[in-house]
Amino acid sequence: MTGRVEVELQNVSKFYGEDKVVDEVSFQVKQGEIFVLIGPSGCGKTTTLKMINQLVPHTSGSIFVRGKDVTELDTVELRRSIGYVIQYIGLLPHLTIQDNIAFVLQLKKCPKKKQRERAMELIETVGLPLSYLERYPRELSGGQQQRVGVARALAADPEILLMDEPFGAVDPVTREQLQNELLRLQETIRKTIVFVTHDIQEAFKMGDRIGIMRGGKLVTIGTAMDIVKERDDFVRSFIGQGAVFSALDTIPVTRALIRDLPVVKKEALVDPAQPAFKGWDYAFVVDDRGQSLGYISLAEMEGPQKIDPDKVEPLPSSCLPGDSLKKALEEMLWGSRAWLPVVSEEGSFLGIVSFQSCASLLAG
């Protein structure tokens, strides 16, 4: 995340009369990043989101979108350049799906032909059949409607997407599906997304970074891992128990990988007294190309000797470098083992993860 800053809030506040709904909030969202705002209801997260496209004008502070102060931009143009997805979807019931998707293009008075082409393109992007373009919103299920909602937000190809609890009104199974699809889509479209939710699991899953709000204030900002390590009482109670597991689900095993291991070539001469083997009960055996062959117990070796291929035991089970730490830990628990080898898809031995290495990641 070294891209340019697309959205920036500097000490932004919102008053309704005497009520301070948003209190001196500052954050930056970089190009291609999903920034999640989360907090209990009434914490000001939705208000904060709506100030970015000025559906709610801010009282003080500054908001910059692509480097420009939003108060100096034409509000209508600003909104047309930002995609907007809301919880209650808000499809227009009197328009076909095609006209709903192309609504921004209609507002911008784009030619009909272009509207149609864009709608055809986008309905495929969100995984709905082309025939749905002629249908009306009420003929679609909630999940399908929200796909149309996402397609509509992408119509004008905005750099920035604002999503206000976009998957809050659909059932859990559909929600997970939509989350996965959005993440998959994000791989290719690389939009800058500000995402509001009240669901910490969703925040950990979707967010590159997460901002936790409380009573109008931004309490903390960080990655899922940073949030889990937070010692603040409110943050701890808000993310609740089990949050560690959700966070581990978002972290690849490579983050806790131990590479500094006794690795030996097959048929090599091994001396268990060598410093490299100190403290290890096992050595990992690879062939000339680094392909994993298994492991061998060092405890049974007496003095230097050549590795006996018959004594090399195959690896019990392993995980891929792309797997999450949660998956690796589950594997360890099922196998009653304190460690798990990490082997690439091509079979190269990369190292191991252990309870110890996971724990030190959390502590560090």
Binding site: N53, L55, V76, E77, L78, R79, R80, S81, Y84, I86, Q87, Y88, I89, G90, L91, L92, P93, H94, L95, T96, D99, F103, V104, Q106, L107, K108, Y136, G149, R152, A153, L162
Partner: protein, 217 residues
């Protein structure tokens, strides 16, 4: 019984030319009333839907006007507008205000807030919001108000006969003064049929417009 029906029919046949002419007058007066009422009340309804405080007063006033007997309104307008079609159309306009105002207001206020928020969030200007989102979505309810008014107006137009505006009221009131039931019926039956017909016609128009705007069902 059969004899009196026969006698009515033969009477009706004799005056059919007059009935046709009066029906045409009646229709034109009614349509003018509905049109004037719609053209004044829909914009006012849009205005007050955005200002609920003023709105409740406006609807109260329209309600008060609505309760004034039609004869009294015509009597009141007479010194200012004289005789003829003008006071009749003004009276019809006044009667149409309450239903159209109320339905326009209710229709606009009933538009799904999520749809409005989404449209605004996507960068609709306030006129785009009104014409592309709010009015199309409120259209069936506004139209229901206009149809109510149409039926009501055809009935009230009858009173126009008293200020020399013409229409089927001529037959009815002359019939009453001459105690001629056949003449009263020759005026009343076309009025009722006209009311039903106009309602159906507006129903068809509404359906056509809905299809064009995409509001289905």
């Amino acid at each position: 019984m059969a004899e009196s029906i026969l006698s009515f029919l033969s009477y009706f046949w004799v005056i059919r030319g007059q009935v046709a002419e009066l029906t045409l007058q009646h229709t034109l007066l009614s349509l003018a009333g509905v049109l004037a009422g719609t053209l004044t009340a829909v914009p006012l309804g849009i205005f007050i839907s955005r200002r609920p405080k003023i709105g409740s007063y406006v609807i109260d006033i329209a309600g008060m006007l609505y309760t004034i007997p039609s004869l009294a309104i015509l009597g009141f307008l007479l010194p200012f507008l004289g005789l003829g079609w003008l006071p009749t159309i003004v009276a019809l306009t006044i009667y149409s205000w309450l239903p159209v105002l109320r339905n326009t207001c209710a229709g606009l206020l009933g538009v799904d807030p999520a749809a409005k928020e989404a449209a605004l969030g996507m960068g609709a200007t306030s006129s785009q919001l009104l014409f592309r989102v709010e009015l199309p979505m409120a259209f069936p309810i506004i139209m229901a108000g206009i149809r109510t008014v149409a039926v009501l107006t055809v009935g009230i137009t009858t009173m126009g006969a008293l200020v020399a505006a013409g229409g089927l009221g001529n037959l009815i009131f002359t019939g009453i003064s001459m105690m001629d039931n056949r003449m009263i019926l020759a005026g009343t039956i076309p009025v009722s049929l006209l009311a039903v017909l106009l309602d159906k016609l507006l129903g068809i128009l509404e359906h056509k417009a809905s299809l064009k705007m995409g509001v289905r069902g």
